[in-house]
């Protein structure tokens, strides 16, 4: 996940330095966030720069080729959050930090019990904004372990919008449909 000071120019420069060429520009829509796709000359690897407005972050994803090496190279070239930065953020005193921490958690692959705990903590947060962020994060990895927190919001949250959104995630968990 890129830090806010990773400008579009910095991304372009890093991609150019890594021999990536811009190969697609996708506008955001209902089904997907806006994204830039860069490809290596031989077409064997693609780098996705995804502007995720729901989570409020921009992140990089590499597919194909030696993706770990490519990712490491781009991480060196661009200001990024570290792989464990979220741990401190989810317990930080400020709402903004906790919201960012939950966004980073949402993108943890694979999800784990620890991830579930962080998300459950967010779903039970005193701040409605943090709960909303946790709810969004839950939709990225909707797992049954999150049901207690989700149902608590669905049936008891003071915010109608959150109750409705939680109901949709719960329903998706039961039916296997999209959250």
């Amino acid at each position: 996940v890129l830090k806010p000071d990773a400008s579009r120019d910095a991304i372009d420069d890093a991609m150019r330095a890594g021999s990536w060429r811009l190969t697609n520009v996708l506008l955001g829509g209902q089904a997907r966030p806006p994204q830039l796709i860069f490809s290596r000359a031989e077409g064997s690897a693609h780098a996705y720069v995804i502007e995720d407005a729901r989570l409020g972050v921009t992140y990089l994803s590499i597919q194909g080729g030696d993706s770990l090496a490519a990712l490491a190279q781009l991480r060196r070239a661009l200001p990024c959050y570290g792989p464990t930065d979220h741990e401190a953020l989810v317990d930080a005193p400020g709402d903004a930090e906790r919201i960012l921490g939950l966004a980073l958690v949402a993108l943890q692959v694979p999800a784990s019990e620890q991830v579930d705990d962080w998300l459950l903590g967010g779903l039970r947060d005193a701040s409605a904004q943090v709960r909303a962020a946790a709810l969004t994060a839950a939709t990225y990895a909707p797992r049954p372990a999150l049901l207690p927190g989700l149902m608590a919001i669905e049936h008891g949250d003071s915010e109608a919008g959150l109750r409705h959104a939680a109901g949709q995630v719960v329903s998706a968990l039961y039916t296997g449909g999209p959250a």
């Binding site: 579009r8 120019d9 811009l22 520009v25």
Partner: protein, 466 residues
């Protein structure tokens, strides 16, 4: 704040041109509305060519990337934003060009219209190629491009990609303009003759070249054929016997002209002056009456016609050989002209080679235009045409017969006064040291220097004031 076009394209007043100046590549964007030339990098040229009006910004970025001209999205966005702020960007695809983009079978050809050729005129071309060394644009169609490159493959070898760029704007269509080498058409051979003509024959040349200097105008009743007084040969041919006819003698109707001949059309209604308009038939009748009058002082005649038309419209009584106008009447036009020639001199000095004819002419013209701001010099020049009397007589005839009054851009009155000012500038050129242009073919025919710069260097925009 400038709004970025959704699907940007370079507007039609923007001309992308490639010049080789003393061996150095120069990529220019000419803004024909203000007469400026902006220098571009090769990446910027490719980025602008990607702006063809069919792509949104994302598509432009992708097209630029495919051409190897993408570094930063912000560079491209800034380029488009800055050009949009200058009024040089448009949105969506370009509308068809009123003359160039009409296929021959779709254009309402005046096939039955009689041809009216400038009487008694035959062209004696001396082949010195000055017409190939002056214009900023030498247009080619796709087919002409192919023929020219087949005849002159070394041009592509020398210049690499992009020997041709869109004739106007950034849309790569049927018409393009060839790269220039030290201000001359890239197809001009080292001997000063057209390489395409030499190797593949006259018919292989672009249409604009082989029909030069003839100009065709459909006025609704006939197609008049006149000449642009932009080349020494054109003026030197006036009054001479023989020469190449502008149209073969057997051609009596427009339908018999070589297919694809570009015929401009007068608008059904012309602007006479201010809000006054008239059907084009009245302009035709006016020019016929004016052409029948004797001309011993071109400026006096043209200015006198303008005064009469401004007062009483196109049916005004026309005075034969009127008195020259007072210098004060020309003041604002001369100021505008001097400002325009000064700008042009600076602009061309910024990128054209010192050997470039257009640069040498720009200096000479500017010297003359600045001198004309002196009231005493104005009075002297207005006193009479001196040795230019025959040239002025022919110029007035060619202009009136060919409707060379900028119809469509300005009123008839403005057009007549503009031509009078051009003659005044020509008189001053004849009295100004040509300096670096001393060996230029136009020295003996100064009106050709004025005319070629008016069109080729965009000086004509001076007349758009007031």
């Amino acid at each position: 704040m400038t709004t970025l076009p959704y699907r940007p394209r370079l507007a039609e007043q923007g001309l992308l041109r490639r010049h080789l100046v003393d061996g150095e590549l120069k990529l220019l964007l000419h803004d024909t509305r203000v007469g400026e030339a902006l220098e571009l990098t090769p990446d910027q040229l490719e980025q602008l060519l990607a702006c063809d009006g069919t792509r949104d910004l994302g598509g432009v970025l992708l097209a630029a990337a495919r051409r190897g001209a993408y570094r930063r999205a912000s560079d491209i966005e800034t380029l488009i934003t800055e050009l949009a702020a200058r009024g040089l960007m448009a949105d969506g695809t370009a509308p068809p060009h009123p003359v160039l983009d009409h296929p021959d079978d779709a254009r309402p050809e005046p096939a039955e219209r009689p041809i009216e050729v400038l009487e008694g005129y035959g062209l004696h071309c001396d082949g010195n190629g000055s017409c190939c060394t002056t214009y900023a644009s030498v247009p080619f169609t796709r087919a002409e491009r192919r023929r020219a490159l087949a005849a002159m493959p070394e041009v592509a070898e020398r210049l690499g990609e992009r020997v041709f760029l869109p004739l106007y704007g950034s849309t790569e269509g049927n018409h393009s303009s060839v790269a220039m080498v030290n201000g001359a058409c890239a197809m001009l051979g080292e001997d000063g003759h057209c390489g395409v003509h030499a190797r593949a024959g006259a018919a292989a040349k672009p249409r604009g070249c082989w029909s030069y200097p003839a100009q065709y105008v459909d006025d609704g009743e006939a197609v008049r054929v006149s000449v642009a007084a932009e080349c020494r040969c054109v003026m030197a041919s006036a009054g001479r016997e023989g020469g190449e006819p502008l149209v073969p003698a057997a051609v009596e109707r427009a339908g018999q002209l070589v297919p694809g001949t570009r015929i401009a059309a007068l608008p059904e209604e012309v602007v006479v002056s201010g809000a006054r308009r008239a059907p084009r038939a009245r302009l035709r009748a006016f020019t016929k009456r004016a052409l029948a009058l004797p001309t011993s002082d071109g400026i006096a005649s043209l200015w006198g016609f303008a005064d009469a038309v401004e007062r009483d419209g196109l049916d005004a009584a026309l005075e034969p050989d009127p008195s020259p106008p007072p210098a004060a009447a020309m003041g604002y036009l001369l100021l505008s002209l001097a400002a325009r020639t000064a700008d042009n001199r600076l602009t061309v000095a910024g990128w054209r080679s010192e050997r470039d004819r257009a640069r040498r002419l720009a200096e000479w013209l500017d010297d003359a235009a600045q001198l004309l701001l002196e009231p005493a010099i104005q009075r002297d020049r207005l006193a009479g045409p001196d040795m230019l009397v025959e040239q002025e007589r022919f110029f007035v005839r060619a202009c009136l017969h060919g409707y060379q009054l900028g119809i469509g851009q300005r009123s008839v009155v403005q057009g007549l006064r503009d031509r009078a000012i051009r003659l005044l500038l020509a008189r001053q050129l004849a009295n100004t040291d040509p300096g670096v242009a001393a060996d230029d073919p136009s020295v003996a025919y100064p009106i050709t220097a004025v005319e070629v710069a008016m069109r080729g260097q965009g000086l004509a925009s001076y007349a758009s004031v007031g």
